[in-house]
Symmetry: none
Subunit: 248 residues, 2 copies
């Protein structure tokens, strides 16, 4: 791996659950020598991508990341625009809604609106969703160019649960359904007990840039509920697209 890749891997070790990590721990987790880890951390710290707590000497993510993220968000305000719409959709359906953005061949969860109900689906921001195992991914594929889809179908499809669709033909059918109805449906394809309805969000050029999904405990969903959620999800996805392209 490149030196830069190693440095970024260090950044990626920090999570919501573990936002501060010591040097030895960091080196162990990254599979790097302590000296190497420290040199990389120093390079990152010089640019404020990493900060060191003066007392505990532990490391944490730096303010430079917030700065860069702000520049990106100002130019590409996906979350800013989409989050309020996702919130509305969550209130309307009473279920958890999550937003994902396409990046490097998969969907990256960038925002979550949790259901108010006690029995709800929990999704973490930052989670990476495969295109074939989730409703979001299938909706995204259905909105993609055929060329992209067939290229994706040629690669082996990993199974995440006993219900994950791994057959190219079955997946193609799910995609066809999504293309026809505007929304996709996936039952326990990624997590046991979770039912999802997905809809793609299109950019100005008509290509999909991300997706949103309504995720419910499977016990609360039947065909009628799914159809309602689908219609609402499509409406929300269109509203986001319209706002992103300045058409509303």
């Amino acid at each position: 791996m490149s030196t830069v890749g190693k440095a970024v891997s260090l950044l990626e070790l920090f999570t919501l659950d573990e936002p501060e990590i010591g040097l030895s721990d960091l080196a162990r987790k990254a599979g790097l020598d302590k000296a190497t880890a420290r040199r990389l951390l120093m390079a990152l710290a010089n640019h404020r991508l990493i900060e060191q707590e003066p007392q505990s000497r532990r490391y944490r993510l730096g303010a430079g990341l917030s700065r860069l993220a702000r520049i990106r968000d100002a130019h590409f305000p996906f979350v800013r625009v989409a989050a309020p719409v996702a919130r509305e959709l969550s209130l309307e359906t009473g279920e958890t809604v999550h937003l994902s953005e396409f990046s490097a061949g998969a969907l990256l969860t960038v925002h979550v609106e949790l259901s108010a109900k006690a029995n709800r689906v929990n999704v973490d921001v930052g989670q990476i969703l495969p295109l074939h195992g989730t409703a979001s991914g299938i909706a995204f594929l259905a909105a993609s160019r055929l060329q992209v889809v067939s290229a994706y179908l040629e690669k082996p499809l990993q199974a995440f649960t006993a219900h994950t669709v791994t057959g190219p033909d079955t997946l193609a059918k799910a995609i066809a359904f999504a293309a026809a109805s505007g929304y996709s449906r996936s039952s326990q394809g990624y997590e046991e007990g979770v039912h999802s309805i997905g809809a793609a969000i299109l950019g100005a050029d008509g290509q999909p840039i991300g997706a949103l999904a309504v995720a419910s405990p499977i016990s609360r969903v039947d065909d009628a509920v799914a159809a309602n959620q689908g219609a609402a999800a499509v409406k929300a996805a269109r509203l986001i697209a319209a706002r992103l392209t300045g058409e509303a």
Copy 2:
């Protein structure tokens, strides 16, 4: 410079004004060879810190940055904690209030509460404030260790308006005033017609981590108003510091 440093420099070339840049341009600006720049960009893209626009082939900051920034902000909630206090201060003074966080030798504006008045000062989130030209910066310097201040005073001070304090002695006096009274005062040091009162926000270790400022059209401020704003700003800054360190 380390390879990692070079890669991060590439990220730092993206600004609010120029959020998408082509390969050759990027290499030129960073002083790198095209091949090197591309290799670094690919390493960054693998971790979603950089994205490439498929059509134009230009590069932009990636979604991974938003992800990391969100993790940081969740743990180090400067804006989340400080924004409501800034809002109160804005309502109390009737003027625009802006929050900045120290990063890489300058203050980065991270939040703004605009005055409700028609004639108000406008500040943009993301703006970088010099330490010597703004009330926020002077307040920050006044709260910093002497060693940091004298190092800063040794470097030449850029003038932004005809009123910018560029003499080290004059600046030292302004810093001394701020150290004594708790708040700083700057008239038209960064923008013509703008008067600012600044106060530093201290972290758990007593070192300043940022600052807030009340910015008014100069026509609305006299010594009495400034003193009132100063007292209010100091109170707000202390409240934020207390909440950040879990003491309130």
